[in-house]
Symmetry: C2
Subunit: 401 residues, 2 copies
Amino acid sequence: MDEERVSRCREAMREAGIGLLVCRLPENMTLLAGYYPLTGMNFLALPSEGEPSLLVPESEEKEASAGWWEQVRTFSFGRVDSPDPSVAVEQFLTDVRERRIAEGAAVGFEGSFESVAPALLAGESSLPALPYFDLLKKVFGASVRDATDFIMAQRATKTRVELEKMRVASRVAACGLSAFRHAVEPGRTEAEIAGIVAAAVMRDGVRVTGAERILPFPQVSSGPEHTSVAWRPCVISSDRTIREGDLVVLELGVVVNGFWADNTRTFTAGQETPRQKEIREVVETAQREACAALAPGVRCSDVDRAARCVIEEAGLGEYFIHVTGHGIGTRYHEPVPILSPGNDAALETGMVCSVEPGVYIPGFGGFRKEDILAVAEEGSENLTACGQGAGASDDDESCSA
Amino acid sequence: MDEERVSRCREAMREAGIGLLVCRLPENMTLLAGYYPLTGMNFLALPSEGEPSLLVPESEEKEASAGWWEQVRTFSFGRVDSPDPSVAVEQFLTDVRERRIAEGAAVGFEGSFESVAPALLAGESSLPALPYFDLLKKVFGASVRDATDFIMAQRATKTRVELEKMRVASRVAACGLSAFRHAVEPGRTEAEIAGIVAAAVMRDGVRVTGAERILPFPQVSSGPEHTSVAWRPCVISSDRTIREGDLVVLELGVVVNGFWADNTRTFTAGQETPRQKEIREVVETAQREACAALAPGVRCSDVDRAARCVIEEAGLGEYFIHVTGHGIGTRYHEPVPILSPGNDAALETGMVCSVEPGVYIPGFGGFRKEDILAVAEEGSENLTACGQGAGASDDDESCSA
């Protein structure tokens, strides 16, 4: 059990006047129940003091019981005679209502999560909608409070246990990065390369780390047109065949037991042109500079500046259109920290973020490099670099930060 | 444009007193805007008469414009200076408010979708939560109406255009089924086989069908213990190594341009024992009987009975614990039709469902076979069987229905 996470959260609950936190989203179950849900039909009632309770489908009892909490109630699910689960959910919430420490204490819930991490059943996660929100109001009355900001504030800095889980996710992702490096060859399609990366993550990820709940989300783009939109959040791995001299960009999200890695690599298929080499060196330098700037107390905007300066000095500023980095943890993208020009908030030890400068030049293509870094006691730790060397093919270069 | 879908929906809207339908879920955008969203930040305002409007991130303008509707408004997204998109969303909703045909007509929205299909960015879909529901109330006032049941009723039967898209999804999935058949060998891990299937779906699926927005969700279990829980909605592809004589079960969900296929295959690694052969023949017969029973006018419970009888007569009834089939379309699992003992509703031409009897015997393991079938004018069409023969390796057996 991650004592640091639980005691930190409970202390914050008491300070915020939250007597009970009701969680259901996979990303928060991972955080506060200590396991990655399979379906999204898992519920945690965490009081600021006393024993938490879980309600899970009977088919996830084993996984839930291997998490942190002893009180695991189940409901019938997936059987021919399974009743409507909402009855069990209402009964569960009613039963835990009394756990609020004091009259007047609030019941926090996940109201405003519009970007969400999937359960392991990523093809069809079960997530809150109006009936669930209405049920919370019905059971808890006026005491319900949207605790989205509260929860995200807890997630802003990772505990020691969580950092270790983030390292594992990055080690798994590194298996995909290695496979990508070797797969970039003229003649293959983008979709084929994406498939090779996915297969490597699944096969080698389990083998290298022993972590079994792994999902890969690779996106491959190639050539001048496709890579020049590689900045958008979702890139289509098409049937375009890679040609000699093409830039090929991999955006790779990986979730491992509920914790995420997020990486980008760009390679040239075959011989690199002088212009490609020039662009690559600019972006790699920018990425290295931003990595080197990452440290506790440093402003997010200064890390962004470290990368942006390099790219602007090379005359490519107009092509670096997005932020330098974003938070990450139990979701692919988290709101703290954002490494952007406007954000003067200071970095703190335990924050984890991407560092991913990129340029996207119409007619030429896009080039991005992305690693995951943790803000350390001093400086930073590159989780992606740690992962490299642990995989099946360990010859990837490391970020020198 | 799918005239049948649009005119059918609009007629139903007029009958139901819905003047405007506001959609955002990827599964409903696929249905009513004619494209599969990349992120889930896409919004459709479909009036019962007159031109619909779309609001999409600028990075998805190309995809949205290739859909059915001309009025595509965009908002800045993913750029360093992109403002909060909720401003653009509120402006869009306010602008379309006047499109309601008559005062008193309702504005339908997606209130109660708790199981949801992901966008192509399945690692982090954007989905409705309280702020969006509150915004709808703010803009449309008392006229908002939860149209979840209305929309699901529209989805219960597929149009001719949709059936063709479902066939494509099944053809793509068939590439994974072929790969699985060849990958089941002693010495491989479950995770490795899942990776092989994922790679085949991505590589061959694009090649065979030309459809580029493809995501595979394979789940592999093996051996007596793991396959005996293969009935649960989410199975973990572990690092267990397949041994000679193991049952190996693949559950494979595949989404192709927003339309789903859902298949299961079970094979023995190496030599089949007499008991395994006996179980296989029972389940295959049950599956064939249920497929053969599927026809318009037939009760769902009778199709279930066709499968269940065979399994009960073999003395295995207690091990067939789930329903015989479920609806499918723009989501992995849809509520119409459910082929279950208690459901006496009649099947209709255009309904699409899985047929998937299975038995799960403690100490022995699980065996399931699952195809996707459409209820035809007479009898049914096995979409999975159509897909086989189109793939890279076309030697899979077909359901004989």
